[in-house]
Symmetry: C2
Subunit: 279 residues, 2 copies
């Protein structure tokens, strides 16, 4: 008797928008003959992840399957959508063919794939899952704007902006670089905070990095009162951060001293050099 064997569930990270940032392994998975599944917010709606591979020149297979993940905070609606998506994945995997799930950005970083994989394994514990990591949006945003996320003994924190300005204010003293994800609902108050702290010049706003309608904004004050895209983030650096409140461990020097000693460039403020650093 034939025992059907489930296909593998593959989470293929595509990077945040530029099809050039798809890894060779994800590119191969897309062309492996595996069935494609991709997330949409509503039925019949376009998929951001699918648009990335289209821009890369790949044709979308006729049997590619859209899975609906609604943008809602309603726990019941969400739970039903997850169950439906996972059930459909298990049906497809039961055909024995691998299923490659398209993920924008990196599959482990603010993505839906972890959820989906857990829900699938709950329904079908034997399913093999493979995660292909990718370029996170904040790494692509850093490269585009010439910001260095962390060097040597620096520290990096990545939080949704929804934590609010009190938390952001505190973390600015603790981290060299703070990445604020999903800034849309908080844009005005975050810009006001950065103004008050004198950090506008060392902050960058990046929307839809790597997509054709990418937007890079250096003058963050100009964003006040405007509506930005959901796929936007801020890179905030605090060049005046001191580490007096943390133990000065071996090799953990403050940013400015380190840069001066390592490169003997003390004439210009470091932020000016960084702005000129990449294009």
């Amino acid at each position: 008797m034939h025992t059907p064997r489930h296909g593998r569930l593959i989470g293929a990270s595509l990077g945040p928008g530029d099809p050039g940032l798809i890894t060779r392994r994800a590119w191969a998975a897309l062309q492996s003959g595996a069935r494609w599944a991709y997330p949409v917010k509503r039925a019949e709606e376009s998929s951001y992840a699918l648009a990335i591979v289209r821009r890369g020149g790949l044709a979308v297979p006729d049997d590619a399957e859209a899975l609906v993940f609604p943008m809602t905070h309603d726990a019941n609606l969400l739970a039903r959508a997850w169950t439906r998506a996972a059930t459909r994945c298990v049906e497809l995997l039961a055909e024995g063919r691998d299923l490659v799930f398209l993920v924008e950005g990196d599959a482990s970083t603010f993505a839906t794939f972890g959820h989906l994989a857990r829900a699938v394994r709950e329904l079908a514990p034997g399913v093999a899952v493979e995660t292909i990591p990718g370029v996170p949006s904040f790494a692509a945003a850093a490269a585009r704007t010439g910001v260095t996320l962390a060097e040597e003994d620096e520290t990096l924190a990545v939080i949704p902006a929804n934590y609010g300005v009190a938390v952001i204010d505190r973390l600015l003293d603790e981290f060299d670089t703070l990445v604020l994800m999903k800034v849309k609902p908080r844009i005005d108050e975050v810009v006001t905070l950065l103004e008050q702290r004198g950090l506008l010049a060392s902050s960058r706003f990046v929307e839809r990095v790597g997509a054709p309608d990418e937007r890079l904004v250096d003058d963050l004050a100009s964003l006040k009162g405007t509506t930005v895209n959901y796929l936007s983030l801020m890179l905030v650096q605090n060049p005046r951060r001191t580490r007096d409140d943390t133990p000065r461990q071996r090799g953990c020097r403050p940013r400015r001293a380190k840069v001066a000693s390592a490169t003997e460039m003390t004439q210009e403020p470091e932020r000016e050099q960084e702005k000129a650093g990449t294009s």
Copy 2:
């Protein structure tokens, strides 16, 4: 009269070790006819970055140039090495040919490329610099171990382990996932801290992720008293983290409540599900 034009300086991120994680754009840059430069710790020593592209099947061009970046905390030695490397880059760029600098991991995340680009621009302000972002080691480590770095409203911090256990102890209460880079000199005390806090089961150790001698360790206690490689990190999660000390903003629910509501899976502890999540 012919005015020589400098080539572009391209920082090509290669990901942390698996040549499959090189992006299509970095792959194309390597084969664009640009001259290659790659970092070594000592003259004549092998290069980790170069080994990644070799494993990918690319032949190293005869005129590829090694640049020495010594592993030292001696500021004078470092400054001289940086000046020498930047000077050599400017000489090569003056030939008019693009120069692609090979970077392991992501060029903006604990990499040498930001330094190098600043030093080159200091010597030759007109040089165009392009940064090709890549997969950071911690994203690859998360994919390999099935750890989700951040979901929905979770928070992520990435710090060198050298900050010491007092800082790590505090950050474990503030972040859902804490990535400890360069754990080698601190391995014993960090493992002891995780034992004391009951977090060994939700922590993973990853060494040389994606390389042929990659090592994944789930039983962190077994690392005590051993010597680990310099290219190693820990992913630490605190499933018992509460957010009582931070304002509960819209959409910022604690991890366990969120998972339960979103997937209706309340039978098993979440960490068990995550461990089974990917392979």
